[in-house]
Amino acid sequence: MSGREVVGKVKRVNGSLVIAEGLTGAKIGDVVYIGNLKLIGEVVRITGEDFALQCYEDTSGLQPGEPVIGTGSPLVAELGPGLIGEIFDGLERSELELWRISGPFIKKGYKIAPLRRDKKWHFVPRVRVGDEVQEGDILGTVQESSVIEHRIMVPIGVRGVVKRIEEGDFTVDETIAEVETASGNMVEVKMAQTWPVRIPRPYRERLPITEPLFTGQRVIDTFFPIAKGGTAAIPGGFGSGKTVTLQQIAKWSDADIVIYVGCGERGNEMADILTHFPELEDPRTGKKLIERAIFIANVSNLPVAAREASVYFGVTIAEYFRDQGYDVAVIVDSTSRWAEALRDMSGRLEEIPAEEGYPAYLAERIAGFYERAGRVITLGSRERFGSVTIMGAVSPPGGDFSEPVTSTTVRYVGALWALDTELAYRRHFPAINWLRSFTKYVDVLVDFWRKHDPEWVRYRERALSILEEASRLEEIASVVGEKSLPEEQRLILLESEMIREGFLVQNAFHPVDRYCPPERQAKILHVLVDFYDLALPLIKSGIPVDKIRELRSVMELLRLKEKEKVEEIEEVFERVKKDLQTLRSKYEVRTA
């Protein structure tokens, strides 16, 4: 994969675009080191003698005439023990390490290897000398964090017989095994391996999607679920809740590993996650969330071009853990900033723009990125399953969903969580609009839900249809006033308010409400829908809706989500039933 080094020189510097000459033989996608500081870049266009380079670091001070080294190799991610818990920039350089050696302000031109070179990892072999192995087979493991067993695989393209392997403490650069290939070559396998970020890692077979990625967020899991190996986009204007929702998923979803790519967004948000992940516990394992997380923090004031690369580093690392047999979630906040980086480079290259300055290949790039999600049987002789789920925020200018990035993304994702600024203004969070969102994963999830709630599909559909009906009625009410609607319709409005406040609204900062396990989601939804069925006959018999609303226990239904135990929920419901009964008998006495 790697070619010969060539040395050329800089002819022109225009921001992140550098024109060089003399890079004989360089190919599109080759990594180059630009100038005396050896800034990292990539060849993006070749015209005659001129090589257009996209530079990933600040080019201030760079001068025509400085040397450029063409490495002949593509941009690669380094993969191996040491990724978990790290915080990288858009080019997989450790920001913790950068901080340590260069102080709190970013300095450029530092060469920092992604994985720590000095750390020894305890390697335990899984195969023996003499075993035949092929690409993707697990040679052995390293306990990287308390929850992640890092499985060292036979590199892609290698097949042969294990000639040497032993247990011990190794750095990522030391040989942990030797494999002799059929042609008699001896391959030294190290724990640090590389893979070109723009090329999807191979797998044996793509599988249909069967299992949800459970997020603990009610509006997602119950109404617009996402599946392991699936894709989702969350578009919304600023302040509508993209970041908080994605962070909730990063914290509480049942993925084995979470890769959080902060792409062109706020520094303080990354600082916030970095502070909280080491404190928060995974509800399933009880271990700290940091033990299963990897961060890429390519914030908005870092060089724009690196945003373009950062998402590919994220998804390549994800595929690598998928290949080890894990379910990995990749979260990108925000894909719009990545698209803008594409636009920026395209503009500097003076390509003919399509819509709003975006290049014509925007759709192709977006589709290609989301295509890297999926559930697969991995390479290797033993059957292993893994998945990559991709969830991306989209930041439409002016909150307008018809703009190119949003409208294109919607076409390629399996679930859409459409955020609604009006809901956000009312502090209805997550502000996911239930009429504009969709998911293609309901069918495959029926089995999962059946375990927790045999009637999931029916209740979900009833709740959705009540919400839809209510939104129609609200339109009428906004012209004639709620008061003039028939009581039965007012009950629908009350019921939709109950579902909205009691179920859809979920406070990310409430110690109980922030994560809602499946059995509680099912229970709350049942109670809220059953309440409607109990109240309807009362309304039909002439009892006004306002009388029902005034019942203290009915208002308590809105707090079911704060109850930790299913029994407490049932207890409230018993009281509601009793109160409704009493109300009914009072009226019967009066009318008798």
Binding site: N14, P64, E95, N268, D400, R426, F509, L558
Partner: protein, 464 residues
């Protein structure tokens, strides 16, 4: 400031287009290098290299563009733009190119820092978490400001954003607290607006602890690109080297963005929206993201940019891209202003993203967040009822809707509304909030926990 006299001088300007100069025959210009440009009449302005070729360079100047001609000398300094820094800057006034306006000599300092590129490593950031009491209820109660936050005011021409910004500066600078400074950067504002700020700062003695960078309405437009960066380079120095808490006020960011657009037009770039360049988001981020706190350092930079929304349109690229970068926004509306409410901040579209980290037990009070959430919900409900009443008349409202409508009116009159010199402690703000919430049935206060209702609801308080 750019006193170095080293470097080659060229008199080979071949083209002048707006703020851009094409200089030919230049060997080895560095990208972003500072140049000094000397006009025919002897005026000196600064510029930087925008596009560096082997034998020519495109220069962007930051000063006046009148008087630029082919007969212009350009000195290439070989270094990116830096300014000298020292504690003597505090109390001083400069123009947008860092030339003294206070009659004192040019600043000197051992420390020379880069003006354009300054990025805090995200791993080294300390998440802001200290409540900053502004004494303004709608801010403290519902959109709390936190030290190290960037919280802009989205306003419109004619609204009292300056009055509020000055009130924040006055009231959040605890008197007698030595470690506080204000950095004020004016871009395209009128003299009378500047005089107002100056008088306000003077009144509280804040002027002695302020640094002013002024580019007023009649100053060169392109200098506005430079002014906020100089201001923030100083702010960072004061915060992280002198260990002080800095409040930086940047006004008006709309003028800044217009300057950015005019350069983009001169460069014939393909615009994104409304003629503004596609890189405006990233450009603004390099300004706004300079707010913050750093692990292990005492100081902080809190940023309050002010912008006037063109046509009052929040979807206009300037407020839109700002909102995508800043940690919330305070939105002033004509409607509230017309009702005589000061400050006319509508809490519904306003937001402080960092509020949750700066309030609560030990910081403000345990019920703060919940009370805020409940106020939001109730006010939104009331505004909805008010809109409905406009269509069907108040009589058509249900009893519940009427109650919320009344709540909204009272909330605007008693909670949002206050005097420009009234400094309400947070306890007072919460007290008013509870008084208002007690107009509603207790069972409907669903965003507040039962414990907090029992503890703080006036009804229960009186009982105990």
């Amino acid at each position: 400031m750019f006193e170095e006299k080293a470097g080659m001088v060229y008199r080979t300007v071949r083209e002048v287009r707006g703020p851009l100069l094409l200089v030919e025959g230049v060997r080895g210009a560095k990208y972003n290098e500072v140049v000094e440009v000397k006009l025919a009449d002897g005026t000196e302005i600064v510029g930087t290299v925008l596009d560096a070729f082997e034998d020519k360079a495109v220069i962007q100047v930051f000063g006046q563009t009148e008087g630029l001609s082919l007969d212009t000398a350009v000195r290439f300094t070989g270094d990116v733009m830096r300014i000298p820094l020292s504690d003597e800057l505090i109390g001083r006034v400069f123009n947008g190119s860092f030339k003294p306006l206070d009659g004192l000599p040019d600043p000197v300092g051992e420390e020379r820092r880069e003006v354009f590129v300054s990025v805090i490593n995200p791993a080294a950031r300390e998440p802001p978490s200290e409540f900053m009491q502004t004494g303004i209820s709608v801010i403290d109660g519902m959109n709390s400001l936190v030290r190290g936050q960037k919280l802009p005011i989205f306003s419109e021409a004619g609204l009292p954003h300056n009055v509020m910004a000055a009130q924040v500066a006055r009231q959040s600078t605890v008197l007698g607290e030595e470690d506080f400074a204000v950095v004020f950067c004016a871009m395209g504002i009128r003299h009378e607006e500047y005089d107002y700020f100056r008088r306000e700062f003077e009144k509280t003695g804040a002027l002695d602890r302020a640094v002013m960078i002024l580019n007023l309405a009649d100053d060169p437009v392109i200098e506005r690109i430079l002014a906020p960066r100089i201001a923030l380079t100083i702010a960072e120095y004061i915060a992280y080297d002198l260990d002080m808490h800095v409040l930086a006020i940047l006004t008006d960011m709309t003028s800044y963005c217009e300057a950015l657009r005019s350069i983009s037009v001169a460069r014939e770039e393909v615009p994104a929206r409304k003629g503004y360049p596609g890189y405006m988001y990233s450009d603004l981020a390099t300004i706004y993201e300079r707010a913050g706190k750093i692990k292990g350092k005492k100081g902080s930079v809190t940023l309050m940019p002010i912008l006037t929304m063109p046509g009052g349109d929040i979807t206009h690229p300037i407020p839109d891209l700002t909102g995508y970068i800043t940690e919330g926004q305070l939105i002033m509306t004509r409607e509230l202003n017309a009702k005589g409410i000061y400050p006319p901040v509508n809490p519904l579209p306003s937001l402080s993203r960092l509020m949750k980290d700066g309030i609560g037990p030990g910081k403000t009070r345990e019920d703060h967040m919940e009370v805020s959430n409940q106020l939001y919900m109730a006010y939104a409900e009331g505004v909805r009822a008010r809109n409905l009443a406009r269509i069907i008349g108040e009589l058509g409202l249900s009893e519940r809707e009427r109650r919320y409508l009344k709540f909204a009116d009272e909330f605007e009159r008693r909670f949002i509304n206050q005097g420009p010199y009234e400094n309400r402690p947070i306890e007072r703000t919460l007290e008013i909030a509870w008084d208002l919430l007690s107009m509603l049935p207790e069972d409907e206060l669903i965003r507040i926990s039962e414990e907090n209702i029992r503890k703080y609801h006036p009804k229960h308080r009186k009982a105990t």
